[in-house]
């Protein structure tokens, strides 16, 4: 009997080559997506002067393609959502990981998975039929379909991401850190906020960024509850007025435009902006993981 390596059959070569191809397919898909966005969106920049693009009025029927109100709308809604979601998310993660008794954890974790699974159109429907009337009455505004309503729904949609990433970050803090904190005479509360959470800092930052990426790209729920008025959010009360985001604009208008028209190219142009924006956010989030790896796993 020979001690050679077992002979590989040709079929095995084929399978392993196939797996290699599948492994690289993700890169291919990202490139393909970007390519097709460019293909359909780039003509916009030759058809519409830049002054028009960066103006304050989005009114495609009159050839006004100002993306500023949409961009600011997305930013306003996202920032508000994150401002609501981050304290709730970090507190929940700390509660689940550091404080909660076993039974509470058994309830909380599946609930958060359920939240992650609820389709955005269902949340949008809930927001439209129940949350919006509630907000109209309690705040005494003209309509409940406001940027704030959207931000509230978005906050809950970003929560599962924020909680699970933050929890992983807390999980990775060695137990010895906690022991050391307690041995110094600190209470568990002090140890959590002065030792454990600071040690999990980079993971927390990543949680916030991924949550932000999720919020800025959310479409259906936002479209259904923000009222879809493309106006500049410049005054303080804009938060409680109807608003329009980039994602909602694409979803609402793509069905009605003629293929190849300037309006059609403009919607793909917004798609390019969204793609680049989420790309940057995710790149930043990913770089915190890679940096952490280089430091040898210790956060």
């Amino acid at each position: 009997m020979s001690l050679n390596k077992p002979r590989r059959r040709w079929s095995e070569f084929a399978i392993e080559a196939g797996i290699r191809v599948l492994g690289f397919s993700s890169i291919g898909f990202v490139l393909l997506i970007f390519l097709f966005l460019l293909r359909e969106g780039l003509p916009l920049f030759f058809e519409v002067p830049l002054g028009n693009l960066f103006s304050t009025r989005w009114y495609p029927t009159f050839d006004l393609f100002g993306i500023l109100p949409l961009t600011l709308g997305s930013i306003l809604v996202t920032i508000t959502a994150i401002a609501i979601a981050v304290p709730l998310g970090v507190a929940s993660a700390v509660f689940v990981r550091e404080v909660a008794p076993g039974w509470a954890r058994e309830i909380l974790k599946p609930m958060i998975e359920v939240l992650a699974g609820i389709p955005s159109v269902v949340l949008g429907f809930f927001g439209m039929t129940l949350l919006a009337p509630f907000i109209r009455e309690t705040l005494g505004v003209a309509t409940g379909l406001t940027a704030f309503t959207g931000a509230l729904i978005l906050a809950y949609m970003a929560l599962p991401t924020i909680i699970s990433v933050a929890e992983d970050a807390l999980d990775a803090v060695p137990k010895s850190y906690r022991d050391a904190g307690l041995a110094m005479g600190a209470t568990q509360w002090q140890t959590i906020w002065r030792v454990v959470v600071p040690a999990a800092r980079s993971g927390m930052v990543m949680a916030v960024m991924l949550g932000m990426g999720r919020a800025i790209g959310e479409t259906m729920a936002v479209m259904m509850v923000t009222g879809n008025a493309a106006r500049m959010p410049l005054t303080l009360d804009s938060l409680f007025r109807p608003m329009r985001t980039m994602t909602a604009t694409i979803a609402a208008e793509m069905g009605e435009v003629a293929q190849g028209s300037t309006h059609y190219h403009a919607l793909f142009g917004i798609g390019i902006i969204l793609f680049v924006l989420t790309f940057i956010i995710n790149l930043a989030a990913a770089s915190t993981i890679f940096k952490r790896r280089r430091r040898g796993g210790l956060r």
Partner: protein, 281 residues
């Protein structure tokens, strides 16, 4: 101030905030169950919509969503699991592998409506599939890929290295070890990830807006090149585009979608916890 008092107050505050996360979830599910429960009947589930969707059932939307999910599974499972096998078993830590990981993170972060644009540009127009189940399933499949790849890779990495060493020491090739030993051991984790990915696809609206969805089509699709109604899009249509829609039908549709998605969710988590308990290593 007594620092143990501070601690107790702090813990109570944390608990309260966790409660603020959980209560709205219960509120959403509870309201939809209570308000939509009355709409559910055999006719609602199995009949075609009538009277401009204001009466009858949502059968074609249910079938459409099931077909789309099936199509997504057929495309996304082989690509996703294959990609995960490469990352977990073959890839070395090179810049190319890091590029793959970066691509996966970015795929996961691309907004769903941008997937819709991409599907419209590539599948519907460029490849001329038209607005069809095929175009929609392909779009949803690419969107689902990062979820499946990450979950399957994690499951594969969870299988101890000894399993591979033993397989090779018995004279098996690398692929034999993966196929006969590693994959079966990782299967429960992979299945859980696949289901979680598919339920995301089943509930998505934005990617199918311009690639599949039919506003009103009271018949079943005959081929992959047909349009179809789908539950999430149908819910969007009847709650925003049709004036005078009976509220009960809207809630009923939301409930059916919710039940479909949440039962998949429960299935995935119970598979995971069942096999985690039975695992020998």
């Amino acid at each position: 101030m007594d620092r143990y008092l501070v601690q107790r107050a702090g813990f109570a505050l944390l608990g309260l905030m966790a409660l603020m996360v959980v209560l709205p979830i219960l509120l959403v599910i509870g309201t939809i169950v209570v308000q939509g429960g009355g709409a559910i009947s055999w006719e609602f589930l199995s009949a075609m919509p009538r009277d401009g969707m204001k009466a009858g059932g949502i059968f074609p939307a249910i079938v459409g969503t099931l077909l789309l999910t099936l199509g997504t599974a057929l495309v996304a499972i082989p690509i996703g699991v294959g990609g995960a096998v490469y990352l977990a078993e073959y890839a070395r830590d090179t810049w190319l592998t890091r590029a793959i990981r970066l691509a996966i993170i970015n795929l996961a972060g691309i907004p769903s409506v941008v997937y819709g644009l991409f599907g419209l540009g590539l599948f519907v127009l460029f490849l001329q599939f038209g607005t069809s189940i095929l175009a929609g399933a392909l779009t949803l499949a690419i969107m689902t890929l990062p979820i499946i790849i990450s979950a399957a890779e994690e499951a594969l990495r969870g299988v101890p290295t000894e399993f591979r060493t033993v397989s090779i020491s018995l004279g098996g090739t690398r692929w034999q070890g993966i196929r006969r030993v590693v994959l079966p051991q990782a299967l429960p984790g992979i299945i859980t990830g696949v289901i979680l990915g598919l339920l995301r696809a089943a509930g998505e609206t934005a990617p199918i807006l311009f690639t599949v969805a039919a506003f009103f089509l009271p018949r079943l699709p005959q081929s992959p090149f047909d349009q179809t109604m789908a539950l999430p899009y149908h819910l969007y249509v009847i709650s925003t585009q049709v004036p005078g829609m009976p509220l009960q039908i809207q809630f009923g549709t939301a409930l059916v979608l919710l039940i479909l998605v949440l039962s998949l969710n429960v299935l995935a988590t119970s598979i995971r916890s069942y096999f985690r308990r039975r695992r020998q290593w």
